[in-house]
Symmetry: C5
Subunit: 381 residues, 5 copies
C-alpha cells in the first residue's frame, strides 16, 4: 500500500488548468500544491486518484466542485478548471471543448454581485443557446456533455455489436457464438453499472436543493464578500447569511428557500435535468438490451430443450427399429444353430413361412411401440 | 454527431400551432424562432428532437410546459400549443382533438386575474364534464388522454396476440411458436418500459406540489402581472411574491402552501390522478401478461423436462429389450459356429431345450431389469 | 372507443342510494345527474365505470369519497352512499351490511358542529364496538370490511386448492398435475396483484395525513359552514382557516397539525390501520404460497434432472451389457462363416475353449466399463 | 364467519394480568370487559385474536400498547400487562420473566410527574443494567427480548439442521436428501417472513418519532393530569399541550421536538435500537442461509447437468463400440449365409484375411468416430 | 444462555485504552466498570460482545461513540478510545495506527469552547492531510480507514482467486472446478453482506444530520458546560439550547440548522463521505464480480445444454448406423438359417446380388434417416 501511494503521488502531478479566457496551462504540482490552490481536503483529492477506483461523483465543496466522472477527473473553482491526465485520448476533446466554450460570449457583461441573478434569469430565456451561466456551470456542462456523449457512444457501439450477435446465436447455437454473447453481456453489465452510477449521482443532486446550492461557487463567493442586506425581521429568525450554505445534505425543509434569491437553484436544476434525461435515455437503451439478451437466453434454453426432446424422439424411433430387427435376427440366429432338429427334412415350405411370420411379428412390435408412444403423447403428430 | 445535428435542425421546422380558438397553423420556423416564441432553453427544445431518444417527460418551464410523450412532442404555453410533426399518422388525431376541445365552452367567461381561482373552483364542481380549466390544462389533458389511449390500445393489441400464442405454445412446443412468443415477449418488454416511463413521470409530478405549481402557466402569468396583495405580516416571512414559484423540485415542506390560494394545485392534481390511474391500469395489464408469460415458460420447461424423462424411460424399456434379445441371439450365434463339437450327434432333443432355456433366461433378464428400475422408482407405476 | 363510451353511459344508470337511516333506493340517473348530486368531476366518475379496468382506489374529493375496490364501486358523501351495480351477487351483502350498520346506534346524539370532535374522541374509547364515527366512516368501514373479507376468502379458497395440488405434483409429475398447478399459479398471481393494490392504496392513505384529512367529509362540511374561531396570532402565520384542507398530497410537514383539533386524523388512521393489517395478513399468506410454489418448482426441476441422470445411468449399464454381448456374438459370427479354414478338423476340444474364452473376454469388458464409470464417479453407490 | 367469531369470543377469555408488583392474576373476562379495562377499540383487540392471523404489530394507543409478536399477544398499560394464552408453552417463560423484572429495583423512587424525566435520564447512565425505565418499557423490553430470543433460537435450530443437510445433498443427490432440503427451505422461508415482519415493525417505529412518543404511556398520563407549564410565547404557535401526542404517523417534521422535554424519545429509541440490531443479526443469518441454499441449488443443477453429459459421453463411447462391432458382425453374417458362392473352394487362406481385414475396418471406424468427437470437442481430454 | 453470558462477561475484560497522547494501556475491567467509565448502557455494550453476532454499527451516545465494525469493536469518548480484543491479529495494526495518529500535530492549539469551530474550519483547508479534527473524529477515521482497507483487501484477494477460477471453469467444467467456484461464490456472498452492512451504516449516518451531530462528542461536552448565548428572539421559538441535540433520528426538518454553528456537521459529513465512497467502490467491485459469476453460470448452463445436444446428435448418427447395419445383418441371419429352401441350388450368382442389394437398402435407410433429421433441423449443417 505505501508503494502504491507513492506512485499515485508521482502520477498525480499531471494536471491542466483552464482559466476563464480559455487558456490551458499544464500544471506540474504535487498534491499539496493542488490542495492549497483549490482549497479542498486531501480526502477529496484522493477521489480523483486514477489508481483508486472511486465511483462517479460530483461533490460540492466550499470553493470547488470535485468531479470524478469516469475518465474526466476535474476540480472546478469559480475561476479555473483543473483537469487530470490531459493527455489521455478520451480527455483531449474535453480540454478542447473547455477551451472553446469557457470564454464568455459577450465578455463585457461579467457582472458579479447583487444584481447578477436577476439579469442571469432574464438572459437565460432570451439568449437561448449561448447561455451566460456562471463560469463553474459552463465548465460543469462541458464535463457532463462529454461524459454523457461518451457513455451514449459506448452504448451505441455495444448495441451495434450485440443485436446481430444475438440474432446469429438464435439461428445457430455454437460455442463461438455463445462465447461472443457472453463477452458482450459482460461488457454490457459493466457499462450499465457505469451509466447507472452517473445517473444516480445526477439524480441525487437533483433531489437535494442544498447540494445543488453548494455548487453555486460564484454566488457563494459573492455572498461571502458582500455584507448581507436582508431585512432585519428575517434575520431575527435566520441567524446568519451563511446559514443556507451550511444546511446539510439530508435537510429537505424549505427554510432555505425563504431567502430564495440567494439559494434559488432553478438554473442548475434545468442544466442537470437535461443531462439526467440524456443519461436516463442511455440507461433505458441498456436496460432494453439487457432484457433482449435475457429473453434470448430464455428462448435458447427452451429451444435447446425442445431440440433435445426431438432428437430423443428420433432416437426412440431408431431404438424401436433396432429392437424389432433384433427380434427378427433372433429368429435367424435360432434357426442358424448347428444343432440338428427332427422336423428339419421335407419341410421346404418352412423357410418361406418363417421369414414371413418373423417379419410380421417384427413389424407388429415396431408399430405397437410407436402407437404406445404416440398414445402417451411422447412422440407428436 | 455534427451531421446528425444538422439533420435535426432541418427536420425541426415542422410544427403546428393551435391557438385558444382552435385554429391550427403550420409553423415553419427554425429552432431559435421556436425558443424565442415560447421562451424555453435550447436544452429543453432538444428533448423534443425526434432524432434523440429522450424518455417521456413533462417539464414545467417559466412560461411553457414541455411535453415529450412518445410521438406527442408539444410545447404548451398559456396561449397556444406547438405540436411537432403534425403529419405523423399518430399525431393527426391529437391535432383534431386539440382543435375540438381547446375553444372554451362559454367563451364569454374567460376571466383572468385575481378572481379567477375561486370562480374556477366553483365551476369545476357544477359544470361537470365541460370544465373551465385554464387553457394549458385543457391542452395537457388532450395530450394525456391521447397518450394513455394510445398505450392502452397497444396493450390490448398485444394481449390479443399474446394469450392465444401462449396457449398454442403450451399445447404444442415448436420452433415457430417459440419464436412467435419470443417476439411478443420482446414487444411486451419494450411497451412495458414505455408505459412505465409515462406512469413514472405522472407519479413524480403528483408527488411534488411545486412541480405541479410550475404547470399553472396562466396563474403564474397573472401573478407576475398583478402586484401581490398579501398582508404585510406574511411578507415579513416570505420575502417576495415569486418565492413560491421558485421553490425547487425536492422541497417538500409546506411553507409554499401558506399562500395557498396562489399555489393550490388541487385541480391539476385531480386531472393528473385520473390519467395516472388509467396508465396504472394499463401497466397492471402488462404486468399480468408478463407474469403469465413467465409462468408459461416455467411450465414449458418442466413440461419439456418431464417429456424427456418419459422418452428416456421408454428408451430404457427398449434398451432392456435389446439386451435381453442379445443374450438370446448370443446363444444362437454360439451354436451357429462351424466348429464341430462332440455331443453334436444323437442329441436331437437338444434344439428344443436350447431354444426354451435361452428364451426363459432372456425373459428373466428383461423382467429383472424392469423390476430393478421400478423398485428404484425410475419407471413409474 | 365511442361505442364503448355510449355503452358505459347506458350501464352507468344502475345505482343504489343508501341514506343515514339505512334506507336503500334504486337510482336511475345518467352520469350527469350523479355528478351533480355528489359534486364530483366526470373523471372521478369514470373511475367507477365497470367497463374500464381501473385499479383499486380510494379518493377524497371536496364533498365525496370515491371508492373503487374491486366489485365495490361506491361514492360516499356525508349524507348518503351511492353503490354501483347493486344486483351483482358480490355487492348484495355489502348493501345489506350498509343498511344494517349505517343507522346510528343512539340516533339522538348526532351532534355536528364545533363540539363534535371532542365528544367523538371520548365516546370512541368507552363505547367500544358500537362506534359513533361520522356517517362517511361507518360507510367506508363497511366497504373495507367487505373487500378485505372477500379477498381473504378468495385467498383461503386458493390455499385450499393449491397445497394439495402441489403435494400431489411433488409425488407424481404428470401433465395433468402440471397444468393444474400452472392454472393455480396464474390465479394466485392475479389475486396477489389485486390484494397488493388494495393494500398499497391503504398504505398510501395512511402515509399521508392530508389525504386522510380529505376523507373527513362531515368535518369539512362543518368547518365550511361555521366561521373559524382561531386566535389572531395564529392567523398571522396561517393566512386562512381553510389552508389546512388545501395542503396537498406530498406535503408532509406538520404545519397542518398546528390546528390539530381540525385536522386530527387519529380516528380514521386507527380504522384504516386495522384493515391494512388484515389485508397485509392476506398478502402474507399469498406470499408464503408463492414461495411454496417456487420452492416446489425448484425441487421438481432438480428431481427431474436427478431422475433423468439415474435413468441414463441404468441405460449406460444396459449399453455396457450390449457391447459386451456384441463382442461375444461377434466371435460366434466369425466362426459361423461358411469359409472353410485349415484347423477345422480334429480340433473338437476347440468349441469349449472358444465359448469359455469369449465369455470371459466379454465379462471382463463389462466389468472394466463399469469400473471405469464408478471410478469417474459417473455411477455411484 | 359468524361461527368463527363466536369461537374467538369464547377463547378470548384466557388472559393473565401482571401488575407492577409482579403479581399475576388470571383474568376471565369477555372482550368488552377487556376493552373497557384498557380503553382500546374492538378493532385493536381483534389484532390479538389467535384465530385471525394478523402479522406482528406494535401499536401505541391512547392508554395502552397493543403487542402482537408471534405467540406473545399482550396489552401493556402504564399500570399492568395483559397477556393472552398464558398457558401456551411458549408464553409461560414470558410470564415468569415479567414477574421477575416488572417490580422496580428500588421501589421507593417511583417518582412520577414533572421531575421524572430528568431523574430517569441521570439514573439511566449510572445504574446500568438495572434500569429505572417506566413500567410500560420494562414490560415492552421483556416482550421484545422474549420474541428476539425465540426467533434467534429458531434460526439457530434451522441452521444446525440445514448446513449438514446441504452438504450431504451436495455429496449425494438423492430424493430423500432433496426432500429434506426442500422442507428446510420451506421452513426457512416461513421463518424469514416472521423475522422480517418483527424487524420491519421495529424499523417503522424507529423511523417515526411520533409513533414512539405514543408509547410513553406514563408520560402521556402525567402530561394529561398536570397542567402545562410552557411559556406563553410558545403557546402562541402550538395551540394546546396535547398537540404533540396528536401528530400523526406520517408527520416527520420537528415541531414536536420544540417541546423536547415532553416528547423526547431517546430512551425508547435506544431500547428499540438494541432489539432491532439483534433481530437484524438474526435476519442476516437467515439471508446468508438462503443464499447458501440458492448457491447450492445452482451448483447441484450444474453438477447434475455435467454428470449427465459425462454419462452421455460414456454412452457415446459404447455406442461407437456397438456400431464398430456391428460392422464386424455383419461380415460374419454375410459369410454365414447358406448361399453357395463360386470362390468358396480352395481359398482356405481366405478365412484369415476376412477376419483380419474386417477387424481392421471395425477398429478404424471406432477410432474415426472417437477422433471426430474429440475434434469437435464433444468428448474431452 | 446464562452459561454463554458468563463466558461473555469473562472475555469482555480484554480492552485497551488509548488516550489522546497516544499511550495505550490494557484495561482489565468488568463490564460494569466499562459502562461506568464511558457512560453507556448495558444494551450498547452488548453490541460489542464478540460472542453475539451483531451487524456493523456506528452508534452515537450521550458521551461516547459505540463502534462495531467487524473485528474493530471500540468505544470512542472525547478523551479516550477503548478497543476490544487488542491482541487479535487484525486489531493490532489498528492499535498501532491509533497510537500514531491520535496525538495532535501541534499539541499547543487544542482550543476547546466557543471559538473552536471557526478555527477548525479554517485549518481544515490549509493544513491538508494533517487535520486538526476533534479527538473522536481522528479515532473514528482510523477505525473507518482500517475497516475499509481490510474489506478492500479481502475483496481484492477474492477477485484474484475468482476470475482465474471462473475462466478455468469456462474452459473445463469439472466437479473440482465447480466446487471451487461454489466455495468462492459462497465466500463472495458473505463478504458482500459484510461490505453492504458497513456501507449501509455509513449511508444511514450521512442521511441523518442529527445522528451525525450526535457524534460531535467534544462539541456536545463543550455545549453542556458553557451557558448558551443565543439571542432572546430565537429562544422565543426554540425553547432550550439543548433542543438541537435531542432531535431524534427521523426528524429531517431544518429547524436544527437554525442554530447552525452548533449543529453544523459539514466536517464529519466530508469525513464519512470519503470512506463511504471507498466502501462503495469496494461494493461495486463485488457486484461486478457477482454479475460475472452469474453470467458465467448462465453461459455454462447453455454450454452444457448445447454440448449435450451435440452429443445426442452424434449418438443419433450412430444409432442410425446401428439400425442400418441391423437390416443388413438381418438379411445375413435370414439366409444363414439352416432351413433348406427350394431355390438353393444352381443360383450361385445369388450371393453377389443378395450382398449388393442388402448393402444398398441398408445405405439408403441410413441416408433417409439422416436426411429426415437434417430436414427437421435436428442435426445441423
Amino acid at each position: 500500500a505505501p508503494a502504491v501511494k507513492k506512485k499515485a503521488a508521482q502520477s498525480s502531478r499531471s494536471w491542466i488548468v483552464v482559466d476563464p479566457s480559455g487558456q490551458g496551462t499544464v500544471l506540474d504540482a504535487d498534491k499539496y500544491a493542488i490542495m492549497r490552490r483549490v482549497q479542498i481536503h486531501a480526502r477529496d483529492l484522493r477521489i480523483l486518484d486514477p489508481l483508486l477506483s472511486y465511483p462517479s461523483t460530483i461533490l460540492g465543496r466550499e470553493r470547488a466542485i470535485v468531479l470524478n466522472l469516469e475518465h474526466i477527473k476535474a476540480i472546478i473553482t469559480s475561476e479555473e478548471v483543473l483537469l487530470r491526465d490531459p493527455l489521455d485520448e478520451n480527455v483531449i476533446p474535453v480540454v478542447e471543448e473547455l477551451q472553446r466554450r469557457l470564454p464568455p460570449v459577450n465578455a463585457v457583461c461579467q457582472c458579479q454581485g447583487d444584481g447578477k441573478e436577476y439579469q442571469g434569469g432574464q438572459n437565460d430565456v432570451e439568449v437561448g443557446d449561448e447561455d451566460e451561466s456562471p463560469f463553474e456551470f459552463r465548465a460543469l456542462e462541458v464535463a457532463l456533455e462529454a461524459i454523457c456523449s461518451f457513455l451514449a457512444a459506448r452504448t451505441t457501439e455495444l448495441e451495434t455489436a450485440a443485436y446481430p450477435a444475438l440474432d446469429e446465436l438464435t439461428s445457430k447455437i455454437s460455442s463461438r457464438n455463445l462465447d461472443r454473447v457472453r463477452k458482450l453481456k459482460s461488457a454490457m453489465t459493466r457499462l450499465n453499472a457505469r451509466v447507472q452510477k452517473v445517473r444516480d449521482e445526477l439524480e441525487q443532486l437533483l433531489d437535494d436543493d442544498d447540494d445543488m446550492a453548494d455548487l453555486y461557487l460564484s454566488r457563494k463567493l459573492a455572498g461571502a464578500s458582500s455584507p448581507v442586506s436582508g431585512s432585519g425581521a428575517a434575520n431575527l429568525f435566520l441567524a446568519s447569511p451563511t446559514v443556507g450554505s451550511k444546511i446539510s445534505r439530508a435537510s429537505r425543509a424549505s427554510l432555505a428557500t425563504v431567502r430564495g434569491d440567494e439559494n434559488d437553484v432553478e438554473e442548475l436544476e434545468m442544466l442537470l435535468e437535461a443531462y439526467f434525461m440524456q443519461i436516463d435515455g442511455t440507461l433505458n437503451k441498456l436496460t432494453t438490451l439487457r432484457e433482449y439478451i435475457d429473453d434470448t437466453e430464455d428462448y435458447i434454453n427452451i429451444q435447446l430443450d425442445n431440440h433435445r426432446n426431438q432428437l430423443i424422439q428420433l432416437e426412440l424411433f431408431l431404438s424401436s427399429g433396432t429392437v424389432s430387427l433384433s427380434i427378427y435376427s433372433l429368429v435367424g440366429a435360432i434357426f442358424g444353430m448347428n444343432i440338428p432338429y427332427t422336423w428339419n427334412d421335407n419341410h421346404e415350405y418352412m423357410f418361406k413361412w418363417v421369414v414371413i411370420i418373423a417379419g410380421l411379428v417384427s413389424a407388429l412390435l415396431f408399430v405397437m411401440i410407436m402407437s404406445y408412444a404416440r398414445h402417451k403423447g411422447l412422440v407428436g403428430s
